[in-house]
């Protein structure tokens, strides 16, 4: 099947979603995903961050789709033409989505453990506007302990449902879900019952924001001060493949290994996550390949930004270029776009 995304055509298997196809091309054209999580069945379609414009439905029926469609759950058709970063409506809508997600978000990044590896931070940095239009009070909740090792801060939650799917699909005897509705909906366990399960700690890793955090790591360090190392151990419950987060000689945190989209490759057990915090527990493999979702990657918020053609064209149209000797090579630099396959 042929699909064209942002003028790049590629061949994919039937049943591939637009998101998967775009990710094959690379991060420059992949739509952002706040709720979609490939390892979790049924996730996606909720945050609306990945809405894209389909300008031609398929070879057979080349009409454009009337509404923007979520890339994460829409399967590609043969001959489909998709516009993501080159479509004004898509970028405008995405600004709106950032605004909606931040509307009741406390913006407490300075004291949040997730800061630096937070998908919402990245999303708003890349797609949002720098000002706010809201003067309303934000909805607030009290922080809750879910068992000994997990802290739930509902204020930060964006209701992506990832932890609900995790609790549903990889732990048994689910006691974790969503209560109430609308903007007063909250993640909750049945009458605040502790999550007590060997794999419950994975809800921390799947959480895109700082709503679910690791109590053994809380306030110990900032992400960008720590050094991630791949390591493994022989564990009888899980694969034992993890990432150790070092500060100096000390293992301050253990997480699962994530791919370049910030998704877990394998779910790990709570023993590995919370109890094995000595270097002697592990066999070190080497430094982790840092994902694009981490501030640890060099100059994350400076270089290598996605520079879609549309805003550049708009700038050229609406603004005069000031004649000075600043470096503007990025405007025409095509290096950030992937080589055609």
């Amino acid at each position: 099947m042929k699909v064209t995304i942002d003028n790049i055509t590629l061949e994919v298997e039937p049943g591939t979603t637009i998101m998967q196809a775009a990710r094959m091309i690379g991060p420059e054209v992949a739509p952002p995903a706040m709720c979609y999580y490939e390892p979790l069945k049924g996730s996606g379609g909720k945050c609306r961050a990945c809405l894209v414009k389909v300008t031609a439905g398929s070879e057979k029926d080349p009409r454009p789709m009337p509404k923007l469609v979520p890339a994460c759950i829409t399967a590609v058709q043969d001959g489909m033409i998709v516009e993501n970063t080159v479509n004004e409506q898509v970028l405008e809508t995405r600004k709106g989505i950032v605004e909606f997600l931040l509307l009741n978000h406390p913006l407490d990044c300075p004291v949040c453990d997730q800061a630096g590896e937070c998908h919402l931070q990245d999303f708003s940095f890349e797609h949002g506007v720098s000002s706010t239009r809201t003067v309303e009070d934000r909805n607030t909740f009290e922080p809750v302990d879910l068992g000994d090792n997990i802290k739930l801060n509902m204020n930060r939650c964006i209701l992506c449902y990832r932890c609900v799917y995790t609790a549903d699909q990889i732990t048994d005897g689910r006691v974790h879900g969503v209560m109430h509705r609308g903007d007063h909906a909250e993640i909750s366990t049945y009458i605040e019952k502790a999550i007590d399960n060997d794999f419950s700690g994975n809800v921390i890793d799947v959480c895109p924001v700082g709503a679910l955090t690791d109590k053994t790591y809380r306030f110990k360090s900032r992400v960008w001060f720590s050094k991630p190392m791949d390591a493994h151990c022989s564990c009888d419950k899980c694969s034992g493949n993890v990432t150790l987060w070092y500060r100096g000689d000390e293992v301050i945190r253990v997480t699962g290994r994530k791919n370049e989209w910030g998704e877990l490759k394998e779910f790990i057990c709570n023993t590995c996550r919370f109890d094995r915090k000595k270097t002697s527990d592990w066999t070190i493999e080497g430094p982790t390949n840092v994902s694009r979702h981490s501030v640890i990657s060099a100059n994350k918020y400076g270089a290598g930004l996605i520079r879609p053609a549309f805003p550049i064209a708009q700038a050229a149209r609406d603004y005069k270029l000031i004649d000075d000797d600043r470096d503007r090579s990025f405007l025409t630099n095509q290096a950030s776009l992937p080589a055609k396959k």
Binding site: G44, G45, K46, C47, R48, A49, L51, K67, L68, P70, I73, T93, G96, I97, E99, F100, L101, L103, N104, R133, T134, E136, D137, N139, I158, L159, Y161, G177, V178, H180, R181, G182, D183, H184, A185
Partner: protein, 446 residues
């Protein structure tokens, strides 16, 4: 011309004997004994009957989309979760003549080949549920439901399921989730219910009024039904009229009468209450755009507006609205549009399921901003902010609740912007109890 409410005032019509004496259940006999399921579907297609729940999608076409794989059960689900503010027709119909719906359910289930069907009733209507259950028992006793109906070999079981009273469960996929016993969150589409609906089986979800109309269509033929009405708006429609009119209530109208006739004729609303003038109308339940008096009575082209799907939507959202579910709310000049919009916005804020972000956050935001304007703390830029928020919700959500929440706000500002501005510029006057802005030289009609 009355089809659904023809015998509604006959004493004892809620019992099966009186109902059958008045010609009830003839359609079941006719359909099951003399027709094939495809013939019934064909008649419904011919009738041009359109979904009465709000969207107005042709019922026959919806039925023909139903996937029919071998060995997989099919379901018919009746959406009786009527919770749109301003709409109360299904409630009235089920309460007065429950057998009209049950007869329609049997005929429709037969046409679709469904052996199990459900009526999902809004939870607040417990007494209606009791009436329906009693009526269903009567139908079982007469052999009109259950195994081998009228000796034809066709089996049908009919169940009534009370909902929990959530507005969102009137959305068809949320209804199916709720019916399955889960949290009533709308599903992502595709797959549509016609392919994967209830318990992942092909399912048709229809409104009470649509299903009830099918038995008359079987009895009298699709062409007879199509003869009523104008153009693609065929048949009769129940309109729930409320607000500042002399005779609020449920009226069955042949589609195609003028809006003016509906408001002012003694056969229907009987006009605006004495000494007052028409200011605005919400023509199809709270989620359709509100229109000012001038726009609701005449179209942009200067023609009289008719009570049809097409005529009401003429002029797009700039000057038109929608027939929707037929919740006709009439407001006279004592109504504050800002307050009215706040009421609607608060409702959608409360009823958003919270699954997708534009609706979850946007409805709450609009509610809070309008609340500020209404209480005299608004800023001029808030009005444009509301328009922008509404625009960003519309079309970007999983289900139509986002659209339903944004349309009334956007329309109120489109047609009554001066009223919002007055609230901002005259906060002291605007917050006095009962204060209403009068447009200079207001020409609210009659």
């Amino acid at each position: 011309m009355k089809i659904l409410t023809q015998h509604i005032d006959v004493p004892g019509i809620e019992t099966i004997d009186v109902f059958m004496k008045n010609g009830g259940y003839k359609a079941v006999e006719k359909a099951i004994k003399t027709m094939t399921p495809d013939e019934v579907t064909e008649e419904v297609k011919k009738s041009g009957l359109r979904g009465r729940g709000g969207a107005g999608f042709p019922v026959g076409m919806k039925w023909s989309f139903l996937a029919k794989p071998e060995g997989v059960p099919r379901y018919l689900v009746c959406n009786a979760d009527e919770s749109e503010p301003g709409t109360f027709k299904d409630h009235y119909l089920m309460w007065k003549t429950p057998h009209t719906l049950i007869e329609g359910m049997i005929v429709s289930s037969f046409a679709l080949g469904a052996n199990t069907s459900y009526i999902y009733v809004r939870g607040e209507l417990m007494y209606v549920i009791n009436i329906l259950e009693k009526a269903i028992q009567e139908a079982y006793d007469k052999g009109l439901l259950g195994k081998n109906i009228l000796g034809s070999g066709y089996d049908l079981d009919l169940f009534v399921q009370p909902g929990g009273g959530a507005y969102i469960c009137g959305e068809e996929t949320a209804l199916l989730e709720s019916l399955e016993g889960k949290r009533g969150n709308p599903r992502n589409k595709p797959p549509f219910p016609a392919v994967k609906g209830l318990w992942q089986s092909p399912t048709v979800v229809n409104n009470v009024e649509s299903i009830s109309a099918t038995s008359w269509i079987v009895n009298n033929g699709g062409d007879a039904y199509a003869a009523i009405g104008v153009g693609r708006s065929t048949g009769t429609k129940l309109i729930s009229a409320s607000g500042h009119i002399k005779k609020p209530g449920v009226y069955e109208i042949p589609l195609g009468i003028t809006v003016e006739e509906f408001i002012y004729s003694d056969a229907y609303c009987g006009g605006i209450r004495d000494g007052h003038k028409l200011k605005a109308v919400v023509a199809g339940g709270s989620s359709v755009p509100i229109l000012s008096a001038e726009n609701i009575l005449t179209t942009e082209a200067g023609e009289k507006r008719l009570m049809t799907y097409e005529s009401l939507s003429e002029g797009g959202f700039a000057t038109g609205t929608m027939l929707g579910s037929g919740g006709f709310i009439v407001m006279d000049e004592t109504t504050c549009i800002v307050h009215n919009t706040l009421t609607f916005a608060r409702f959608y804020h409360h009823e958003s399921c919270g699954q997708c972000s534009p609706c979850r956050e946007g409805t709450g935001w609009m509610d809070k901003v309008i609340k500020r304007i209404e209480t005299g703390k608004g800023r001029m830029e808030d009005i444009d902010l509301l328009v922008d928020v509404a625009k960003k919700i519309e079309g970007n959500t999983i289900c139509p609740l986002g659209d339903a929440a944004s349309w009334p706000v956007a329309a109120a500002i489109r047609h009554f912007r001066d009223e919002f501005e007055w609230h901002v510029t005259h906060p002291e006057e605007a917050t006095k109890p009962g204060a209403v802005y009068m447009r200079p030289g207001a020409s609210w009609t009659k």
